[in-house]
């Protein structure tokens, strides 16, 4: 199936080679024939309405760059009048009464929403296997996971079902599936993109971002998504730069840091050689590469798996079977209603994290777990701040291996958590990061992680774009 970029389609629309309506119909047809289970809901009616409006806007001379381009949102962003399930039985019947700011901003640009993509339940997972709507298949190998939690968003782009999607990244949920599916994904600095209407998992870590084929497309989409939002109390009050203008800046003299804690003897040999080849490309582009140290980064798994569950246990207390969502049959009293509604509607991993969080926050344990984890979080951030005083961008693996098999890690939550070893620390620090297609191991794609300074998304996009000018990994598509 032919794959297109947002930038390429934008040109086709500008040149009148196709209309937004034709584009929407073409992509809706692809989604109907999909075998990856990337979508939870397809919003055909809305798509055709928005496409018609986009064509009218273009005819009136008011079209922007993104007007008429198709998009799909991770099913964790609220969409007015459309089911917003978060991949959970709890919200299988939930029709969001309003749009998330991100959804609203994309719609204001005239983008055409094709549907809502599959994800791990409430964004908790690294394989998309924790979805009430079933696992998503990796388009490169149907027996393998697409990664998670934004697995549907990544697989849909890789399979050519939509040119770009939104995802959310609390511990790697944009970067890891982007790596597993061979696409480009960007997790912005905490506070860069509004969290309003993005159903909360761990509020001090959650951040939405773009997923697409290229860095150029991520720049276009981030431009629409980013910015201060009065409705999000942690939204950053900072101007949004023009991400597209800096894409072509040369990389000569760029200082790249490689954390010795990541590039060590434990790193898989094939993974190491793919990443080294990618880093060599940067050397050819004039970058200087040096070793750096992130002393406390090894503590990111324990710190994350306290902080995120603690915040999740608090956030998910809102699902009470009273105001919205699932309610059990014939509750005998209010306590029974709470317990059975939650017990019957949450999946295993969500229950596990709620319980870990509840335990960590319970009387007598708060200092030993939650406070301790927050102090370690400070140490991890200080390491990054020191390193980024010395280098412009840090490069790292995204994942220990390429996509693993469906069912391979499902019986052992700790083994699944170890998959996040290269991604979690960035969320704890609040920094922006990307996954960029960097090669293959066998038939499976591999991602290179780029980590930048606070609010330095423009540099990350530039660094990724320049790589994509001299490589074609991002253009490879599954058979």
């Amino acid at each position: 199936m032919q794959q297109h970029t947002l930038a390429g389609l934008a040109k086709q629309l500008q040149d009148g080679q196709c209309s937004a309506t034709e584009l929407a119909q073409d992509y809706l047809g692809r989604i109907k024939a999909d075998t990856t289970n990337s979508f939870i809901s397809v919003t055909e009616e809305i798509a055709l309405q928005q496409a018609k409006a986009a064509d009218e806007r273009r005819a009136a001379g008011n079209a922007g760059l993104l007007t008429g381009l198709p998009i799909a949102h991770k099913d964790i962003f609220c969409t007015e009048g459309v089911r917003t399930s978060c991949g959970s039985k709890m919200l299988d019947n939930f029709i969001a009464p309003y749009n998330a700011t991100v959804v609203e901003k994309c719609a204001a640009e005239g983008m055409v929403m094709l549907g809502k993509t599959n994800c791990d339940e409430f964004a908790m997972g690294s394989s998309n296997e924790n979805s009430f709507y079933g696992a998503v298949k990796n388009p490169w190998d149907a027996e393998r996971v697409p990664g998670g939690s934004s697995g549907g968003s990544a697989a849909a782009v890789a399979a050519g079902l939509v040119p770009a999607t939104t995802g959310t990244d609390t511990g790697g949920s944009i970067r890891q599936p982007a790596a597993f599916c061979g696409i480009t994904g960007l997790r912005p600095t905490y506070g860069r993109v509004s969290r309003w209407g993005m159903v909360a998992y761990a509020s001090s870590l959650d951040q939405g971002g773009p997923m697409a084929r290229t860095a150029e497309d991520c720049a276009l989409l981030l431009q629409a998504m980013a910015g201060f939002d009065q409705k999000d109390s942690t939204s950053a009050q900072r101007d949004v730069p023009d991400y597209s203008t800096s894409l072509n800046a040369p990389l000569s003299g760029l200082k790249i840091g490689l954390p010795k804690e990541f590039f060590n003897a434990d790193l898989d040999g094939q993974m190491a050689s793919v990443l080294q080849a990618a880093i060599d490309e940067y050397r050819k582009l004039g970058a200087e590469v040096k070793e750096i140290s992130l002393t406390n980064v090894g503590l990111s798994i324990p710190a994350y798996y306290i902080i995120a569950p603690a915040e999740a246990s608090s956030n998910l207390s809102r699902f009470d079977g009273v105001r919205y969502g699932y309610r059990c049959d014939n509750p005998k009293d209010l306590m029974d209603l709470y317990k059975r509604s939650r017990g019957e509607a949450f999946g295993e991993e969500v229950k596990r994290r709620i319980m870990v969080g509840t335990y960590a926050l319970s009387a007598g344990y708060y200092d030993a777990y939650y406070l301790k984890a927050q102090k370690i979080r400070r140490l991890i951030q200080q390491d990054y701040i020191a390193a980024l005083n010395d280098v412009d961008v840090i490069m790292a693996p995204v994942t220990p291996t390429p996509a693993f098999r469906i069912g391979e890690n499902t019986n052992d939550p700790v083994a699944m958590y170890m998959e996040d070893i290269f991604t979690l620390s960035l969320n704890l620090a609040g920094l922006p990061g990307m996954s960029v297609p960097a090669g293959f191991i066998g038939h499976l794609p591999v991602g290179l992680q780029l980590i930048g300074n606070f609010f330095d998304e423009a540099r990350l996009l530039n660094v990724a774009h320049q790589f994509q000018q001299v490589t074609d990994w991002h253009l490879r598509t599954p058979a």
């Binding site: 798996y305 306290i306 009273v322 105001r323 009293d333 209010l334 317990k339 984890a373 939550p413």
Partner: protein, 95 residues
């Protein structure tokens, strides 16, 4: 640290989660493994380290105390599992 079955039952009660009896043993094992993983933190000296709650160390932004929301009760309540005349219905709480 290893949890007992009674610990998991207590946590599940605090979290208002009904667990299938047959699943409790699995939770005891998995939660114990997760706590063993996070216990690595205890070996680290964090004296005089300021806890980090917000990655930008931002403080709560304030706004004038003015009503900005319009009344959307009916729309917002449309998702309620049971409601009547603008009220959420629950099993009888007060005898």
């Amino acid at each position: 640290m290893a949890l007992q079955q009674s610990d998991v039952e207590k946590i599940a009660h605090l979290a208002r989660l009904q667990l299938e009896e047959s699943s409790v043993e699995g939770y005891v094992r998995n939660l114990s493994n997760i706590l063993a993983l996070v216990d690595q933190m205890q070996a680290v000296n964090t004296d005089n380290v300021e806890p980090l709650a917000n990655p930008l160390d931002a403080v709560q932004r304030l706004r004038p105390d003015a009503v900005t929301e319009e009344n959307q009760r009916d729309k917002l309540q449309a998702n309620a599992p049971a409601q009547e005349r603008g009220l959420f219905l629950v099993p009888k709480v007060i005898e």
